[in-house]
């Protein structure tokens, strides 16, 4: 197995790639649109596409129930899926490039573990009546407290990782530190789970399943701008990320302030990963699979192309996964995390098997 940095002297320059035609970009643009339409039209309740269109265009004479289902349930879920998919894809791309490791995902630095620990503390421990009473006074019940807990948890982990990142040179050291924090957090979560009551455990496990459906318009007011800031940061970092592809030494010789840039990459990626985890739960595999799919389609590892591509592909995959998790035609719901893994894992397997003909995939 070899997914560490390329050995010195190995041939790792940008290949002179023939630009793939507009076909690839058309595909990247059309996919999320189809997925968006499917997301709005398919669901447990049958609403004909015509009805959805009438609701969206504000026509008169649509049943009130349809209007509420489309505008208050399906549309916020679709918007959440788009933002979450784009954010996770982008965070994955940044992490894969930073660590030059095709298996890196947005959570390698322990972000989701920190969030999980925070949520476990709130959901599993603090549900006594007295505590809930205080939380109600503070307006921090239910989803609000879960989101806050996840954000605080991931930020604590992030600040520790950052403190270490400022001191150590090696990205691999950072990677190992992140992994170890992950283990510590899941150990603590296990301890908490041991003493939890059934309904608390059920709530916690439901959170780990991941879901775009729990985010409402009010929460999107915070979620959407945060994700947009993270995506904008990634766009600004595209040039530095290209330099990082060729190793930190090369980046330094290109005039990139490695330590400074590394911190910004970690902050940007972690912001995206932490926000998505806080609002949607830990959603696996999208962050790994999306960048690989984009490299495969565009046949490039140039971040100027990959950044917009990852946004489009991330949105499309997240929407498709959510459509499948709603199991159209049935009344049940499947765990979103299971669907993203079912889509993501084959992609990663494909990547590993095709590595020989693969362009330097940030690896």
């Amino acid at each position: 197995m070899k997914f560490t940095t390329p050995a010195a002297g190995e041939q790792v320059a940008f290949h002179p790639i023939p630009r793939v035609g507009p076909a690839a970009w058309t595909l990247l643009l059309v996919l999320p649109m189809i997925a968006f339409i499917l997301e709005l039209c398919l669901g447990s309740v049958m609403i004909p596409p015509r009805g959805v269109w009438d609701v969206l265009t504000g026509q008169e004479g649509v049943p009130e129930g349809w209007r509420e289902i489309v505008l208050l349930f399906r549309l916020p879920r679709a918007v959440t899926a788009i933002l979450a998919g784009a954010a996770l894809g982008m965070a994955g791309l940044e992490m894969q490039t930073l660590f030059r490791n095709p298996l890196a995902d947005p959570f390698v630095l322990g972000i989701s573990s920190g969030a999980t620990l925070g949520v476990a503390l709130v959901v599993l421990v603090a549900s006594g009546f007295g505590f809930r009473f205080v939380m109600e006074k503070r307006g921090l019940l239910g989803n609000a407290s879960v989101v806050m807990a996840a954000l605080v948890g991931s930020m604590v982990i992030l600040s520790v990782v950052m403190a270490i990142a400022r001191r150590v040179e090696s990205s691999v050291t950072l990677l190992i530190v992140g992994l170890m924090f992950g283990y510590i957090c899941s150990a603590l979560v296990n301890v908490l789970l041991q003493f939890a009551q059934e309904h608390q455990m059920q709530n916690f496990i439901a959170w780990t399943f991941g879901s775009f459906g729990g985010v409402t318009w009010n929460q999107l007011l915070v979620f959407a701008p945060t994700v947009c800031v993270g995506l904008g940061l990634a766009r600004m970092l595209a040039k530095s990320l290209n330099a990082f592809l060729l190793g930190e030494g090369y980046a330094r010789s290109m005039g990139v302030n490695v330590r400074h840039t590394r911190i910004w990459i970690i902050v940007g990626a972690s912001l995206l990963a932490a926000t998505v985890t806080a609002y949607c739960g830990p959603i696996g595999f999208l962050g790994i699979a999306v960048p690989h799919l984009c490299r495969l389609i565009l046949k490039t590892s140039d971040h100027n192309d990959l950044v917009p591509a990852v946004i489009l592909m991330g949105a499309a995959l997240a929407l498709f996964a959510d459509v499948l998790s709603q199991a159209p035609g049935t009344r049940i719901v499947l765990p979103l995390n299971a669907i993203t893994s079912l889509i993501g894992a084959p992609v990663v397997i494909g990547v590993i098997l095709r590595r020989r003909q693969f362009i330097e995939a940030g690896a």
Binding site: S44, G65, F73, G139, L141, G142, L193, A206, R331
Partner: protein, 406 residues
């Protein structure tokens, strides 16, 4: 694996297979009696007759009783057989396959769930209860007082709910004649195999698999069979059945059956009780129209929130909001609850009026033993005119904000 490992692994496999042969099946190891049990005498003049429960049967054979418990695990088709032999008599020969022999009447019993503790005072056998898992969940006054006197020992290991394991050392000191356990079909949660291995006599109580309230309550006869208390059990149960059926009869001819929603959503998914289950039956008997009454499953299912919303936005009542104790708390879980008309009119009720500080809900204790009173609670919600004098026991209307109790 290196070559050097192979003999080690082979030795291990050999050792484990030898051990399992040597130990064999613990039940088969029960010594065979010399004489078969006599059928001519009848030591059990009072016989239980099972009318509602579907998960157990009891047969009488002169000097012993045979208890059969069915499908405690959701998928398992397994039957558990218990041969209850009167003191001083021999078990029948040959024993049914896998049967566990227990001498009755039982003098000392340990119980792995507070769900059944209300039955013991009803049969006046609470003094036989020597061990209970989850003492801090108990609500039944007689049991709480015995715990206070130190006459009932905590046999759980401090963990909560399904995670709880049994403290084997304390059980060994207690020496109960049998231990009543639940079975989920999930090995990590089930105590029976481990207890059996340790030489205890675990009896599986599958009352939670019953899909009707009266079926669940009828497990009082299961407990009674162990104590030869069938006569008391029949009397108590018949009384409850009469009260329950009289209540249910009142709602049979109601002009209007209000629609009812049950459960709450968590992160966009609604965990909703099936239309053929325990709580659906309560709602039907209370003269309500449950929004999933056409559903034929018994268990709780994850359902998309929009499905529930479409069916329930105009429902008149909303019950069983689980962990949500106030309207504000509901709104904090999902602000879209505001759209439900039951929420806007405040007709939201939860069964959490009697919860111990540690989180044990008496609805799952006394409520299981007294379905007639649960039904009365529900009728007083849906049809107050039919139960004008009833003061609700477990159900309470959600306040808009939490009142600072405790």
């Amino acid at each position: 694996m290196t070559r050097g490992m192979i003999p080690v692994v082979a030795a291990f496999v050999l050792y484990t297979s030898m051990v399992s042969i040597a130990l064999g099946d613990p039940e088969v190891a029960t010594p065979r009696p010399f004489f078969s049990a006599s059928e001519s005498v009848d030591l059990f003049p009072h016989k239980a007759c099972i009318r509602f429960a579907r998960c157990f049967t009891v047969e009488y054979h002169g000097t012993y009783k045979r208890l059969d418990v069915f499908s405690p695990g959701l998928k398992s088709k397994e039957t558990f057989v218990y041969i209850l032999v009167a003191q001083g008599h021999r078990p029948p020969a040959p024993l049914p396959r896998g049967a566990l022999v227990i001498q009755i009447p039982v003098k000392r019993i340990a119980v792995c769930s507070t769900t059944w503790s209300a039955f013991f005072p009803m049969l006046h056998i609470e003094n036989a209860l020597v061990g209970l898992a989850g003492c801090d969940w108990a609500s039944t006054p007689e049991i709480v007082s015995l715990i206070g006197q130190g006459r009932i020992t905590e046999i759980g290991d401090g963990r909560r709910g399904m995670n709880r394991q049994v403290n084997m050392e304390r059980l060994t000191v207690l020496r109960p004649d049998c231990i009543m356990v639940y079975a989920t079909g999930i090995p990590e949660y089930d105590h029976a195999p481990k207890l059996l291995e340790a030489g205890f006599k675990p009896v599986i109580n599958a009352s939670h698999m019953e899909t009707t309230p009266l079926g669940r309550t009828e497990w009082i006869k299961f407990i009674a069979a162990l104590f030869n208390k069938e006569a008391e059990a029949e009397r108590v149960f018949d009384d409850i059945v009469n009260r329950y059926e009289a209540m249910a009869e009142k709602t049979e001819r109601v002009a209007r059956r209000p629609t009812v929603l049950s459960g709450v959503a968590w992160r966009g998914t609604w965990y909703i009780p099936g239309g053929a289950g325990y709580s659906a039956r309560f709602m039907a008997d209370a003269g309500a129209d449950y929004i999933r009454r056409d559903d034929t499953t018994a268990g709780t299912k994850p359902v998309a929130i929009e499905t529930v919303f479409e069916r329930a936005r105009d429902a008149e009542f909303w019950i069983d909001t689980k962990m949500c104790g106030s309207l504000v708390e509901l709104l904090a879980v999902d602000e879209r609850y505001r759209l439900f008309s039951s929420f806007r009119t405040g007709k939201v009720f939860n069964n959490d009026a009697r919860v111990t500080p540690e989180g044990g809900n008496d609805y799952w204790e006394t409520g299981v033993a007294r379905p007639d009173l649960v039904l009365a609670d529900l009728i007083s919600i849906f049809h107050p005119e039919l139960a004008p004098d009833h003061k609700r026991i477990w159900y309470r209307q959600l306040p808009s904000r939490m009142e600072g109790r405790q």
